[in-house]
């Protein structure tokens, strides 16, 4: 038997893999919480699209600074050594290849590294693009954090081809789910890690795309 990771578990698993010195943008949802699991003494510098460099721990209740929010409009703090820039400079960071890593949530990821995370249908009346397309094409590495399967029907989010409208093509390097860590390689998804108790075959059963064993 195995136990899927909860959302914090996924975030903590991602945090393990971020080395000191990286410059990282965390998307809304699971990714936002990744920074909670990076110890402060390991200096990782977190960026927010709205021009914040060096996000610190969440403020203590009652001590929020109304002038300081992240890209999800949550109150944050700035750590010593941080800086503010305007929106165009902030996206120059994201689009100019200056992020070592961006972690985004997604609906689906394909075996060629396509990501779909902004719309569930091409004809959705209103669109929620935000900065995801900029981050997806601009970062040196894109990792995705999401549940392996959809909540209701248990469909695989790890796919040969994405069924939802794309955010960007061929950009995802790694996917962290509640079940496994998958690398996107030229030959497809390679299973890098699984939750304890899960077998390769059981994971493949829950996955639409073909999986390859590591090594």
């Amino acid at each position: 038997m195995f136990k899927p990771l909860d959302r914090n578990g996924i975030a903590a698993r991602i945090a393990q893999d971020i080395p000191e010195g990286w410059f990282v943008n965390l998307g809304i949802g699971i990714p936002t919480t990744v920074s909670d699991f990076v110890p402060t003494e390991r200096e990782v510098i977190f960026h927010a699209e709205n021009g914040v460099i060096g996000i610190g721990p969440a403020p203590a209740p009652g001590s929020e600074n109304p002038y300081l929010v992240n890209a999800g409009v949550q109150h944050i703090t700035l750590r010593t050594g941080g800086a503010y820039v305007h929106h165009a400079d902030s996206f120059a960071i994201a689009r100019g290849g200056h992020l070592d890593l961006c972690v985004l949530g997604a609906f689906e990821v394909s075996e060629t590294g396509d990501i779909a995370n902004w719309a569930r249908a091409a004809d959705e009346p209103v669109k929620q693009v935000g900065g995801a397309m900029d981050l997806a094409v601009g970062a040196q590495r894109l990792w995705v954090a999401m549940e392996h399967n959809t909540k209701g029907r248990g469909e695989s989010r790890i796919r040969r081809v994405c069924s939802y409208p794309l955010t960007a093509k061929g950009v995802v390097k790694r996917v962290y789910t509640d079940l496994a860590v998958l690398d996107v390689t030229p030959t497809g998804f390679v299973v890098r890690d699984m939750v304890p108790g899960l077998t390769f075959d059981a994971l493949q059963e829950r996955t639409e795309a073909k999986l390859l064993p590591a090594g």
């Binding site: 699209e49 929010v69 409009v73 503010y84 165009a88 209103v126």
Partner: protein
């Protein structure tokens, strides 16, 4: 003596014409709410509004949209539960959705005299459908055009009489680039300072980009 301060909100917003393109800064912080209220009072209609997001059910953007004097909204996302989404669904609002970084870059281009640029962002997505693309250095890129405002509504922490501004913390966001990109940049500032009180190396938005400043104490 150059003095860009105006005394009243009506004076700050005077002259905005029907059909104007209005750039509205702010991202969670740094929204010039008093000026938005002033724009509603001023009454200009048939506006194109450019801002980061389409707002919620309340707040300054929702209030402005609810007047139905905005013809078109250019922004990076619209929440399904919002005045913007309901007006769009009812056919009362045009929407142009632009990736947030492309939006910021188009606004900067408007301020910097760049007449068009190529970006990989969104080039292989639905947002590129029917639009001009070009492969540069092996990457598919989308041609984007600058955004120029007739008016920008700007928030500042400090302002002097030449219109030099500082912005506090992350309230900076779109403020400097929207001031650059508009013919008439109207500022609400929390603090008025003497010329020279903002050291020349610490000016965030130079006075050259600012036309009117209204003191709105916090």
């Amino acid at each position: 003596m150059i003095d860009k301060f105006v005394s009243t909100r009506a004076e700050a917003l005077a002259g905005i014409e029907n059909g104007a393109t209005v750039l509205l800064a702010g991202f969670g912080a740094g929204t010039p709410e008093h000026l938005v209220a002033g724009l509603i009072a001023q009454g200009a209609k048939d506006l194109t509004l450019v801002c980061n997001a389409g707002g919620r059910d309340d707040g300054p953007i929702a209030d402005l949209l609810a007047t139905e004097r905005v013809r078109k909204l250019v922004c990076s996302f619209v929440r399904p539960a919002s005045v913007a989404a309901r007006l769009f669904t009812a056919g009362k609002l045009e929407l142009e959705i632009v990736p947030q970084g492309t939006l910021a870059e188009r606004i900067r281009a408007g301020g910097a005299g760049v007449q068009g640029f190529y970006t990989p962002t969104a080039a292989d997505t639905l947002l590129a459908e029917g639009r001009e693309t070009r492969v540069i250095g092996g990457r598919l890129c989308l041609l984007e055009y600058p955004i120029v405002g007739d008016v920008a509504l700007i928030d500042a922490w400090q302002a002097d009489r030449w219109g030099n501004l500082t912005h506090r913390d992350s309230a900076r966001n779109f403020n400097p680039i929207m001031a650059m990109a508009a013919k008439l940049a109207i500022v609400q500032t929390a603090h008025v300072v003497k010329l020279g009180d903002i050291p020349p190396e610490h000016v965030h938005t130079a006075g050259v980009f600012v036309q009117r400043v209204l003191h709105v104490p916090v």
